[in-house]
Symmetry: C2
Subunit: 786 residues, 2 copies
């Protein structure tokens, strides 16, 4: 473990501060300090450059495929953040000279990244330097930065080169064909580039204003153009104590943006629009733009504020950090895309969408921001045809969702991964071929959305069709075992990805069964209650025929049962027969996946070792199907064999520990989960934030300790605070209503913020309550009655 | 001007040393310390990374076009030089900690780059670090490096990550489609990649051996694969005073290599061959490979050693540096390619071939290494069809050589360059359209080669055809002026590129005339003496018809004449009428092209200002056509208006100053020319070496002070040493013979090293000498008799 103490929670958990600069840890802070608004994602590389830095700027959904052999990914747009600052002719950076004081902080209240440095160069000259940066939540195309430099000991020559650098790649893959470079009016720069395969034009624009002691400088900077670059260099002599300020406002527009997508070859119009847009913004003045962004964030927090009174202020920080990043990663403006496994914070997983979205991220929006949740479930309808293609290509019927999804819903999982330590070849990645539970997870997401929102219009237009098509996939996927006289599902990967090519993975079989029975239930309901929708879908999908198949087959799916004595459910057909080894050395969270340095994937499959929660996720999704005893027994059996080498693991374990009343274990797991990105593993998030873990932090807190669940249209609240927490208060959206839930030691208060029609029924620790305006209840009593 | 005193000539001009590390000047040393062998060019980026570094590894002739909109260029192969060295967990680099002693030196004797550092980290721990690197002159696919680290104050944890990094781009353009990555036997790595358009497979292979106190370590390093990358990490604890050594041997093979070009899809065989090749090399042991490379260089210098006894040892260094780089830049192994304007040392000019080759580089090989010279003139025959295409596409006949040439001979000049400071748009690059003198320059190169070598076989197979096709281009290019009753050549750029769209550029018109008259002369000679060659070419080119056109038209070409009083020849129709301004501030060689920050190209064309030698080059090429008075007068008229903003300018001025007996001016210009790359302009060669200037150093020394010229098959020697020089001795190849020429103050000695058939006639200062074995002559007397 690396000793590092420079990451702190400040201001009651609103501010994350880096108080010590260490160039080894660039990646960590680039990721956690990332800024964005669901459209733009700007990795927090510093203005000055360091080896190993990763300058990323992504636009949600603007995928491109570099070469036929590769999968599509989010291309790295031009960098507009890097500055070459020279003080008395020498480039400024922090690995030389002397740092007298240093603080970089992300203020979650308004999404601002600030850096304050008192720095002394090699010659003993001191400078005060401050940096401010935002990506506007008010204007999704907009970002801004301010640099202030004050020479403290003697006057200094200051030179700043700033511009647009389109030389960026995705780890070497260049997605853009060079477009135009222009300098307008000596201060506005524009650079365009078009993606090579998807033909999306990116228009990068930026404008500069330079001040000396608060007075706008009018001398023109020196323009410069290079390959894929355009920049300006400002040079001036700064007196002691006089502050030099550079304000830079920048924007990205693309021809893939909703408002441009169907306008064809409107390149010139797009460029002109971008220029006018940015000029107008810049005219408002930098301070106004900063304020507008602040106000937008204040409005968000006013609706979304979750308060945790804990012994450890880090818990409060973690939940806010999670909410902050959930906003950044989610394209709430456009349902053509969804959430990448690393959001828009890094190149990891190439912007692809996994089951992470439905199982780990969607819940947050379901219960906090259902309008955005709808976007996420619409995405799966937009990509339904891709899933149909995948099913057909694999010899199945219905819709087989891709393990990794991007623009179309076709499979985007790359084929080759890290080195296999035995063969010296890259490891073949099987998930895209055989991690098939994703198809049921998508259906579950749809149903979960419906239950939490009651959005019948969504179901009629999109939701039912997804549930029917996925159920049909499973019907075609089942394999009849003559011996067992059951349907099996063979050769899959379950959630536990250290077990490849297993049969009858419990999670997969149960979810397939759930998917088919849900389709049966929906079909019957439509037949009875909604004949118009039924008729439409019948004519499209031949429902009657399918219904019979679902009914016949679902009855005979093999569902692994808990052992009568131990309550253990076998994770798959062979797991429980495998070798048990001492895993202690591999369970260190600072060395994720360290077991792969000693064992190849083939060798791992012969050991009782799990990468992550598998059967436990099932207990969470289908909680009423399993007894508390079964849940507890399996938790204690599988957890010690689990390395938590997936960031999806700890939060699930925490939540399930809450379910089985292991509150301190739950808190321990929550604390670890909350530190996957924010903790002392200084390289865990180099490739980007762990989106699912970020959603998991909220889940462990609100669905775990807050005990929020829904089951078949009824809202459940089973709050249980860990020792360290005194109070947990959170807003909750439920079927069009907004509630505020406050849990203190022994007391639960539910306030109704909206005045919807009729009464709301809640199940609190199993007991029914009718909510009119407010419920206050004694938790000890409620728990007792459970 | 930047103050920097850390560049030194050592060991009698054999060693260039950087004695002070300054990260601002990475580019300079990356370029001048470049290593190679005409096949590989390895830029001298350091093992550790710094922002702004440029890691380049080029393979001669392996061009690729990134996108249709772009021109073809030499792609940047995978990097195998970068190492991540961690000392006690912290990355090693020189911008932090304390440098107690530092020296990096390129030893020209054996092309070795060595670096010795005594470094203290932030905690006060000291390390001795030495680095050695070579690109083998013995095996053109091979390079090697050795790193030695010794902890001096206490034992240390040392970790070194080393591998193959295919994430490299050409300033953002990625030319490669990712291929395979493999680890063999825990120490040999291989990475393949294929160019996207030209479909050339690059196979990068490297093998590692690690020693501790001289004992080979057998513990396996940790392998790692990433996108486009494969690497190994060695970790060990080093005791105080014990040296850790990493030997890395690497190779590059491509499917474009001569021996593979026609083998089709032999990818597997190529990879296997590369692996076997490298394993065999590695088995020999690092020291043996070092020695083999040393021996190859010793053999080169034994034949090519030029000695200058000067007041300033820098002159000796400069000439050796020039010879070193001439070897590096020239693909002597393959006539399918020629010399790029930046050799293989940087991305500048994209590996393209200019008139630089014929006029500035070819002479070195003509008089030093005629076999290599032949490769260069063969290249123009290989690209003759491309030149025919260009002529046809532009509405002309014959062969119109491209201003920038690459694989095919079609025009490769990019269309857009640096910013136009008035419009804010990129500047349109006109050279590819209208800098047409290149076509005559190519013909001149052919003739020059023939005169110096007497290689009739070349002429019969290739040379005549080039001369005839280029003459035919000129015949079709001439424009009849009714008013003047002459043929004009309008709307061109001459050598002086600050004058675009001029008419009757003297250089162009004279060279076109020369080209046509030379074609006439050759045709007549063939008719008389070589009827077989004549008949072949007649049937191919319809010579008889062409002859008439050449004769009719060449007689009437307008050739600007010297003014009767001033002797000034107008550079073009309008130059002498333009405004004269004070150019002093733009003549600083540390600020090349600074005038473009104040004037656009359009504005420049209205001023009597020249970028570079124009008419002076004509005096050099066609020296007998102009009187000494004319040469002197024009030198003094045009030089003060010349900014020497092209690196082709100073050496030409030096040589011509020698011609007109301005020896101290000539020496001054030589000294400046020799410092274009090696001097205190710390950014002049960031984009790569100035190949033409490198050739120019040799020309100014040997053709200027040594006075070596040839004219129509006779060798002339007019040596005139500048004050600073006491002795100049150089080998000389002439029509199959090898001579050694030694000039001292007042004395010339010519020794014949070969015993060819018959006598050799020389013109020394205009007087005929017959060389049998040796001539020793009094120069003062010879000069007097001139």
């Amino acid at each position: 473990m690396i000793e590092y103490t420079g990451l702190n929670a400040l201001d009651d958990g609103w501010v994350i501060a880096e108080t010590e600069f260490d160039a080894r840890f660039l990646g960590k802070f680039e990721t956690i300090f990332c800024q964005g608004n669901g459209y733009l994602g700007l990795r927090a590389a510093t203005e000055e450059s360091y080896p190993g830095e990763r300058r990323n700027l992504f636009v949600a959904g603007a995928f491109n495929r570099f070469a036929n052999q590769e999968v599509t990914e989010l291309p790295n747009a031009a960098d507009m953040v890097q500055l070459e600052i020279r003080l008395n002719g020498k480039p400024f950076h922090l690995e030389k000279g002397k740092i007298h004081s240093y603080r970089r902080e992300l203020d979650l209240r308004q999404g601002e990244l600030r850096r304050d440095i008192l720095w002394e160069d090699e010659h003993g000259d001191q400078f005060k330097m401050t940096f401010l940066r935002f990506v506007s939540l008010q204007d999704r195309h907009l970002m801004g930065m301010r640099v202030e430099i004050t020479p403290l000991t003697k006057s200094a020559e200051i030179s700043i080169s700033s511009g647009i650098n389109g030389q960026m790649t995705n780890s070497g893959a260049q997605h853009f064909i060079e477009g135009e470079r222009r300098v307008f009016d000596k201060e506005l720069l524009q650079l365009t580039a078009t993606t090579s395969e998807s033909n999306i034009e990116f228009v990068h624009t930026c404008v500069h204003q330079m001040y000396e002691g608060g007075v706008r400088l009018t001398t023109a900077p020196a323009p410069s153009m290079d390959r894929r670059r355009v920049s300006l260099t400002y040079k001036l002599k700064a007196e002691v104590g006089k502050c030099i300020t550079l304000d830079k406002v920048a924007s990205v527009h693309t021809s893939h943006d909703k408002e441009w997508r169907d306008r064809g070859a409107a390149h010139q119009a797009l460029q002109d629009t971008a220029r006018e847009y940015l000029s107008k913004k810049a005219e408002k003045g930098f301070d106004v733009l900063v304020n507008e962004n602040e106000q937008a964030w204040i409005n968000v927090w006013a609706k979304a504020n979750i308060e945790i009174k804990s012994n450890d202020v880090f818990d409060q920080l973690a939940i806010r950090f999670s909410q902050y990043h959930l906003l950044l990663m989610t394209p709430a403006h456009d349902s053509r895309f969804s959430v990448g496994a690393k959001g828009l914070t890094g190149e990891g997983y190439k912007g692809h969408v996994f089951w992470d979205t439905e199982i780990f991220i969607l819940p947050y929006f379901l219960y906090m921001d259902p309008q955005t949740a709808r976007k996420l479930v619409e995405y799966r309808y937009h990509t339904l045809n891709g899933a149909r293609t995948k099913a057909r290509d694999n010899g199945y019927r219905g819709a087989m969702y891709p393990w990794e999804s991007a623009a179309t819903g076709e499979e985007e999982t790359p084929e080759w991964g890290p080195v296999d330590i035995v063969t010296g070849k890259p490891t073949f990645i099987w998930t895209g071929k055989i991690e098939q539970h994703i198809t049921a997870d998508v259906a579950y997401g749809v149903w979960h959305y419906y239950q939490a929102t009651g959005d019948q219009e969504y179901m009629d237009r999109y939701g039912y069709e997804i549930i029917f098509e996925t159920a049909t996939f499973w019907a075609s996927r089942l394999e009849w075992s003559d011996k067992e006289q059951k349907y099996h599902i063979c050769d899959v990967i379950g959630p536990d990805e250290y077990k490849e090519h297993v049969s009858n993975n419990a999670f997969t079989n149960y979810m397939a069964y759930w998917n088919m029975t849900k389709a049966i239930e929906c079909t019957r309901k439509l037949m009875q209650a909604q004949s118009d929708v039924y008729l439409t879908l019948e004519s499209k999908l031949a429902l009657t025929e399918r219904l019979k198949e679902w009914e016949d087959k679902s009855k005979q799916i093999y569902l692994p049962q808990p052992d009568m004595h131990s309550f253990i459910i076998p994770q798959d057909d062979t797991y429980l027969n495998k070798q048990i080894i001492d895993l202690e050395k591999y369970r260190d969270q600072d060395q994720v996946a360290s077991i792969l340095a000693d064992y190849s994937m083939t060798q791992l499959s012969e050991i009782q070792v799990s990468k992550q929660a598998d059967i436990l996720v099932l207990f969470y999704l289908l909680e009423d199907w399993f007894s508390k005893e079964t849940k507890a027994a399996n938790w204690h059996y599988y957890e010690p064999k689990t390395l938590h080498d997936s960031s999806l693991s700890l939060s699930t374990h925490s939540m399930l520990a809450s379910d089985v009343n292991e509150l301190e274990l739950a808190y321990d797991m929550f604390a670890k989960a909350a530190r996957i990105d924010l903790g002392t593993n200084m390289h865990s998030c180099d490739e980007g934030i762990h989106s699912a873990s970020i959603g998991g932090i909220w889940k462990a807190a609100i669905m775990g300790f807050g005990g929020v669940r829904s089951w078949e249209g009824s809202l459940r609240l089973n709050p249980k605070l860990p020792q360290a927490w005194e109070r947990l208060s959170f807003p909750l959206a439920w079927q069009g209503e907004r509630l505020q839930v406050t849990v203190t030691r022994g007391k639960l208060e539910v306030e109704r913020l909206t005045s919807g029609l009729g009464e709301l029924t809640l199940l609190i620790h199993g007991r029914e309550y009718v909510l009119k305006d407010r419920i206050v209840t004694d938790l000890k009593e409620a728990e007792r009655s459970e």
